[in-house]
């Protein structure tokens, strides 16, 4: 399960979001770091095939994105930065609904994810009556449905308290074997505890890609 990114560029009008990004990611957990507006979300949306890059190519497991959409969709789990679900839906209904669309026949996955992320008690409560953290946890739970091999998690721990973060990391650790998990974050402690690989973006360029322990040698200000 390798992800190859070759010369990826993306602009919104005159504003350049990604500049010639080239990376090769192997199974494991990778943290995507960088200040606001550095291109993290754009990169994750391109990797999730939700955004078309202006230039460059993407290959997952040796197969180009452009020719393998239906197959690729079956391999992907994605958490968007902003989560706003229909207010009448409940976490259980959302997971069951997306499970149906993903053709997941294995029963018990929904219950397992609700339980692993501590959502059991609010599983049947509408989103309109849930906290921001509970909505984000549901968003994270849906990404794990179908056991995807590529997980793209934008601002993974945004709005989560310490306990909720623990649950998310525990689930991700359990599920990380043989998978590639790429998550963006603004919290260096998350990176330190959760991953050994990091990518740092600045103004759309990759300024660091490697082991987290080497990060502070290359970029002053990143200390763990």
């Amino acid at each position: 399960m390798e992800l190859r990114i070759q010369g990826l560029s993306k602009s919104y009008g005159s504003q350049v979001a990604l500049r010639d990004v080239t990376l090769e990611l192997m199974p494991g957990t990778v943290a995507l770091l960088g200040p606001n507006g550095s291109g993290k979300t754009t990169l994750l949306r391109c990797l999730a095939s939700l955004l078309k890059p202006d230039n460059g190519g993407l290959w997952f497991n040796g197969l180009p994105y452009t020719q393998n959409f239906p197959w690729l969709r079956g391999q992907l789990g994605y958490v968007p930065q902003e989560l706003d679900f229909p207010h009448n839906l409940t976490p259980r209904q959302l997971l069951e609904y997306l499970g149906t669309l993903k053709n997941i026949s294995e029963s018990g996955q929904v219950d397992y994810l609700l339980s692993a992320l501590g959502l059991k008690s609010v599983a049947d409560r509408p989103f309109g009556r849930l906290s921001g953290g509970q909505i984000r946890l549901t968003g994270i739970a849906q990404a794990f449905l179908g056991k995807p091999s590529l997980l793209l998690l934008d601002e993974l721990t945004r709005g989560l308290d310490v306990e909720e973060r623990e649950r998310v990391f525990a689930l991700a650790r359990k599920s990380s074997s043989g998978r590639l998990i790429v998550f963006s974050t603004h919290d260096p402690p998350d990176v330190e505890r959760f991953t050994e690989q990091a990518i740092v973006l600045q103004q759309g360029r990759v300024i660091f890609s490697g082991k987290t322990e080497d990060l502070h040698h290359h970029i002053p200000g990143y200390h763990f």
Partner: protein, 283 residues
């Protein structure tokens, strides 16, 4: 021949070679056997055997009819109770109108309100709070066009149910119009407005899909009513009676309804294609 036997017994010691006995017949058979090049049929068979292990090509596979029902049923959870209640309110309004002057008002209310209900249903089904969900839906095995049609089927089925009940009421009242012409005068605008609402949703989002179909239909109703009032002044006939006669007898209204039906179907098909193109534009 000796070379062939040597190759067969390569790595064996003398005792092992002797234990195998005379291998010349076997060596001759292997030497004389020529492996043929695979023909087209062999290649095709091999590819067929490998097919389950290869990635699925981009062209989506057609969905079997039974799973369409499953998909449509799955969409129920996205509709709040207020959606179903609004339909029930339209029915109640129909019942109320029959108590005032059912013979004239109900058929008109049916033709005027039903397309609005359907377009509103489409705008509701793709309301802004489904945007995040829409992104997640795009990352599933179900295509955008399939989802679009499944959700639309639910809206149309509900609208059809209400329309049938209203038609039954009209029939009970003793129709002043030809029922089939009335149905056509309802179906045309309903399909056209629904198609327009769906197409604008796919292309420009829910705000345009809320404003354009309603604005268009409102303008047409106002123009029709103005025409009816002018006839009312000229002939002494009530405006509603004149409009009902137009629905029953006018060839332009008949042709217009048919064209609206075709335009609606065309827009629905275009919406599905636009949704698929948007998904595949990444290519």
């Amino acid at each position: 021949m000796k070379d062939a036997i040597d190759r067969l017994t390569d790595g064996l010691d003398e005792t092992q070679r002797q234990a195998l006995g005379d291998l010349s017949a076997l060596a001759y058979l292997l030497e004389s056997d020529v492996m043929p090049d695979p023909g087209q049929e062999d290649v095709a068979r091999l590819l067929e055997a490998l097919n389950p292990y290869l990635p699925v090509p981009n062209a989506p596979r057609p969905r079997p009819p039974s799973s369409w029902l499953h998909l449509i049923r799955s969409q129920f959870v996205l509709f709040e109770s207020s959606f179903w209640l609004s339909g029930a309110l339209v029915l109640l309004l129909g019942l109320f109108i029959t108590t005032i002057d059912g013979q004239e008002l109900l058929p008109l209310a049916f033709v005027l309100l039903s397309p609005l209900l359907s377009a509103a249903g489409v705008a509701y089904a793709f309301r802004p709070e489904t945007r995040t969900l829409g992104e997640l839906e795009r990352l599933t095995a179900t295509t955008t066009a399939e989802l679009l049609y499944a959700r639309l089927a639910l809206v149309l089925a509900f609208n059809l149910l209400i329309a049938l009940l209203l038609l039954f009421l009209i029939w009970l009242e003793g129709p002043q119009v030809l029922l089939w012409r009335l149905v056509l005068a309802w179906l045309g605008p309903m399909l056209a407005l629904t198609g327009l609402a769906l197409f604008t949703t796919v292309r420009w989002g829910s705000l345009v899909s809320s404003l354009l179909p309603f604005g268009l239909w409102g303008s047409m109703v106002l123009l029709g009513w103005r025409e009816a009032l002018l006839h009312h002044i000229a002939s002494g006939m009530t405006a509603t009676s004149w409009l009902l006669i137009e629905i029953s007898r006018s060839t332009p209204v008949l042709i217009g309804s048919m064209l609206a039906c075709l335009a609606g179907i065309g827009l629905l098909i275009l919406s599905g294609r636009a949704a698929s193109c948007e998904r595949q534009s990444w290519n």
